[in-house]
Amino acid sequence: MDVQTKVIEIVANVCMTDVSNVTLESTIGDFPEWDSMGHLAILQQVEESLEINFDPEEMMDLEDVNDIVKAAEAKI
């Protein structure tokens, strides 16, 4: 499974929505569940499933699906 598909699947799972509702532009606040707690859950699950670690300095810039995909891809 590629990084983009995996990230979208994680976002859909945390936000309790279908993967078809999640796009690369989906961002914090687009779904009620994507609040601070949801955002942390998304980042933690991405880190765990792709076996990577985001630094605090870069985490602040991860706001939408595209940001997360790009940052994750750069670490693999």
Partner: protein
């Protein structure tokens, strides 16, 4: 005096002063007051009886403020709720408050008619009359110990006094510009609105803490001098942005932190990053907002306490017979002051009186007071789980768990989490195994808010109970 009167006063004396900033929109005190009056006129034209309840979805949009204060001016009682309130809780709030109108945008509205905030405006029709101090302004629904929402009645006086006490301790002035990222469907966030408006300061709304870019962006753009947060917010800010908050040390005059467990090491870290900021932490509950306060920098050797009585508040420790006990001995924390709520909605005066020892409100929390008046929390009778500042009744979660196939009974507790403070852990009895845990969580996700879904599930043979059948949650904590 009531909050609406002071907003009117600011509108007259400093009409051009900015009251609220939401993104690109800036609202002066003069405009805020006009919009409040227009909303009040709309409600008056609906011919609603004084004291009727209206439910408002408490989103951080400026139109919420117009409807909220406008409804007060029209003699209505506001019931602010989160726009994501689940349908079961929403129905219970409907049943209890019996509202005449629902305004805003709700995710789960059932078949009820909901009026958009945009509709709540009308030509100003009459001379405004302010409600009296003793009238009920708001019903705030909290998570009761039984899992049923409980409507706490706060009068205009309760709210005014609480705001005044907080402002005295925190030191707010008219020059303050506050970044409001807290939810405003709860006592803390709504209270911050009243505190800032009481002083004639400026509020800057952001949706929440989730977007650190927006949080720091608005902090910088609007030159904010303070904000409120809960310990879980700090854990999030810290994880997502490292030490960045320290860059604002000369700008941030104050931070108010809500009551929840916060490790001393985190308090000290915040102090070292913001050496000149007045960092205050309160202890309180919706019924008795901010009953105690501690200023971290001023009380470095008392950081393990929740501070001393707030200005104008008396806190005493009572024994089980309703007698005040001496310093150092553990008992129930009880609070006296004009900020204490006026009623539980739908409850008789006699039943409400049972929540008091003399004129001291019983918080349901246990603790001690030391010789300097500092209060230490020992345990909470109410057993609510505090997930990132959101209160979760274990009973509400257990009710849902017990309806799942394969679960005979369950019991939930809060367990420590480095980010959220606490998360839910469920103990279940039945025919399921750990292999079913993900399925259980998925089923729960569709039935309740995600923060209420157990993070940990343990399968045990029997739930420990007293001989009266009451779950022994303390035993579960040690399992």
């Amino acid at each position: 005096m009531i909050i609406e009167q002071i907003i009117y006063k600011h509108a007259v004396e400093t009409p051009e002063k900015t009251a609220v900033i939401v993104g690109a929109e800036t609202v002066s005190y003069a405009k805020l007051w006009t919009k409040i009056c227009q909303a009040a006129s709309y409600f008056e034209k609906q011919d609603l009886a004084e004291g009727s309840r209206i439910i408002l979805s408490a989103n951080k949009e400026i139109k919420f403020l117009y409807s909220y204060f406008g409804a007060h001016m029209a003699g209505l009682v506001c019931v602010p709720i989160d726009s994501d309130t689940n349908i079961v809780r929403f129905q219970r709030i409907m049943d209890c408050s019996d509202p005449v109108m629902i305004v805003g945008s709700l995710k789960n509205r059932g078949d009820y008619q909901v009026i958009d905030f945009d509709e709540v405006t009308s030509e100003i029709s009459s001379e405004r009359k302010f409600p009296s101090e003793e009238e009920i302004a708001d019903l705030l629904f909290t998570t009761g110990t039984t899992g049923l929402p409980k409507g706490i009645g706060l009068s205009f006086k309760n709210q005014w006094v609480a705001a005044n006490q907080i402002n005295i301790f925190v030191g707010n002035t008219a020059d303050d510009i506050e970044l409001l990222a807290l939810p405003i469907s709860h006592s803390f966030g709504l209270g911050r609105i009243r505190c800032v408006l009481q002083k004639g300061g400026t509020l800057v709304f952001v949706p929440g803490f989730a977007s650190m870019k927006k949080f720091f962006g608005e902090l910088e753009r609007c030159k904010c001098t303070g904000f409120g947060m809960v310990p879980a917010s700090w854990a999030y800010i810290s994880k997502m942005s490292g030490d960045r908050i320290g860059q604002f040390s000369s700008q941030l005059k104050y931070i108010e932190i809500g009551s929840a467990a916060m490790p001393i090491i985190e308090k000290e870290r915040l102090m070292s990053l913001l050496p000149n900021t007045r960092i205050s932490m309160h202890y309180g509950l919706t019924e008795a907002s901010r009953s105690t306060f501690i200023s971290f920098h001023d009380n470095k050797n008392k950081l393990n306490t929740v501070g001393r009585s707030s200005p104008g508040v008396v806190v005493k420790i009572f024994d089980e017979y309703g007698q005040i006990i001496e310093n150092g001995i553990e008992g129930e924390i009880c609070v006296k002051g004009d900020h204490v709520c006026s009623c539980y909605w739908g409850q008789s005066k006699e039943d409400f009186a049972k929540d008091f020892y003399m004129d001291y409100f019983r918080t349901g929390d246990y603790g001690t007071i030391d010789e300097d008046g500092f209060i230490s929390l020992k345990s909470r009778i109410k057993e609510l789980i505090n997930v990132g500042g959101k209160k979760v009744s274990p009973i509400e979660v257990e009710e849902v768990l017990n309806k799942l196939e394969g679960i005979k009974e369950s019991a939930c507790i809060g367990v420590y989490d480095p980010v959220y403070g606490e998360v839910v852990k469920a103990f279940v009895v039945g025919t399921l195994t750990p292999d079913d845990n993900e399925r259980i969580k998925k089923s729960m996700m569709s039935l309740m808010e995600s923060h209420k879904v157990p993070v940990y599930i343990e399968h045990i043979l029997e739930i420990p109970k007293t001989h009266n059948g009451k779950i022994q949650r303390l035993l579960l904590q040690n399992m």
